[in-house]
């Protein structure tokens, strides 16, 4: 990162927001990932040692949202929709077009939703920002999420688990479990094994 918080290799003329903490060994492909970032917390996003985010990754983080990316986590183009908290653990691998959403941004009641959609065109940039409940998402360490998968509000995915491509995860996944399908169901268990975790 340059002193003015631009990126030397960036195609988009943006900056890393002040309240985004990036470890000096982390890699961010583009500041376009923060186009919808509007957290007002002191640390709206924290990106750990050796973590990386690539093109297509979007930190769509609301005013009270906080996203944490653990050490060596690799996010290859996920849509992170966060109004409460989304924690992505160390060594997690998140594939392209994955959606992690901790809320719906609009009221469920159609009449209230109409009011929100009437406000939306008055905002800059235009986005849904209704004050509706959000439920944190936890992706624990060493989880792998395949492409096009969706993780719905309130879900915890346990350590070492695998979420198959295009799965939709609507309930917690225990540690070391492979899930697949829409809605996602457990298909097998994994052995944790032993491996050195230092680089």
């Amino acid at each position: 990162m340059n002193p003015d918080r631009t990126l030397p290799w960036d195609w988009y003329p943006g900056r890393i927001p002040e309240n985004v903490a990036v470890d000096e060994t982390a890699y961010i492909e583009t500041t376009f990932s923060f186009y919808f970032f509007r957290s007002r917390l002191p640390k709206g996003v924290e990106i750990g040692r050796g973590a990386s985010t690539y093109l297509g990754t979007m930190f769509d983080v609301g005013p009270r949202g906080r996203v944490t990316l653990g050490a060596y986590a690799l996010v290859h183009g996920a849509r992170i929709v966060c109004d409460s908290e989304i924690v992505i653990g160390d060594y997690a691998l998140i594939s392209w077009n994955v959606v992690l959403m901790d809320g719906y941004r609009v009221p469920f009641n159609p009449l209230d939703r109409r009011k929100e959609l009437e406000l939306l065109p008055t905002r800059q940039p235009r986005l849904a920002a209704a004050d509706v409940p959000a439920r944190p998402i936890r992706i624990e360490r060493n989880v792998w999420i395949g492409f096009d998968a969706c993780v719905l509000p309130g879900v915890t995915i346990g350590e070492g688990s695998i979420v198959g491509a295009r799965s939709v995860v609507i309930e917690d996944v225990p540690p070391y479990t492979v899930v697949g399908g829409n809605p996602a169901r457990a298909t097998r268990q994994l052995e944790p094994g032993v491996r050195a975790t230092s680089t």
Partner: protein, 183 residues
């Protein structure tokens, strides 16, 4: 990337006051020759939407709609009401894209190939998609041809919708099933 910034409208597209269409790829695959091929009402937000219309495609979208990076693939008709939300990377298609019958598909492969200049494509199944008022469609969802989604229905993220959806149903899965009812 479909980057921000207003898209320039084709001559046969019409949008209402305070409606915006952004993204430099919005009309990259817009081939419709119909008059009023795309009509969007007032106060709608079409952020990074792909309007991929065939020669006879017609898309009608109402007021106060909010679409983010949706992909609209239209060979016949998409009719979308008011206050409809379509989430990021959702796909709505009113066509099968290619014939189902194997022999027909070979003819189509040749017609579509760079060597197929001038050959016409075989008949391909297409049926209009209707999405009624107050429908919410989540990110990564897919809506297939001939489907009508009833008013106030809630299509969860990642759903694949192959059949009509009753009004106010909450649906999820592949294929999508009713899992509850909305207020």
């Amino acid at each position: 990337m479909n980057t921000p910034g207003p898209a320039s409208l084709p001559a046969n597209a019409r949008i209402g006051p305070n409606t915006i269409i952004t993204g430099d790829l919005a009309f990259k695959r817009f081939h419709s020759r119909e008059p009023d091929a795309l009509v969007v009402g007032a106060n709608s937000t079409m952020d990074g939407v792909h309007f991929a219309l065939g020669e006879k495609g017609r898309v009608q979208i109402g007021d106060y709609c909010y679409f983010t990076n949706a992909v609209l693939l239209c060979e016949s008709e998409l009719r979308i009401g008011n206050y409809v939300v379509v989430g990021w990377n959702a796909t709505i298609a009113d066509t099968d894209f290619h014939p189902l019958a194997p022999a027909e598909r070979i003819a189509d492969a040749i017609a579509c190939s760079p060597a197929g200049k001038g050959r016409s494509r075989p008949e391909i199944a297409k049926r209009p998609v209707w999405i009624d008022d107050d429908v919410w469609i989540g990110p990564n969802a897919t809506i297939l041809k001939g489907v009508r989604i009833g008013a106030g229905a809630f299509v969860e993220a990642g759903s694949l919708v192959t059949r009509d959806v009753p009004p106010r149903a909450r649906i999820l899965g592949n294929p999508a099933q009713v899992i509850g009812e909305m207020p």
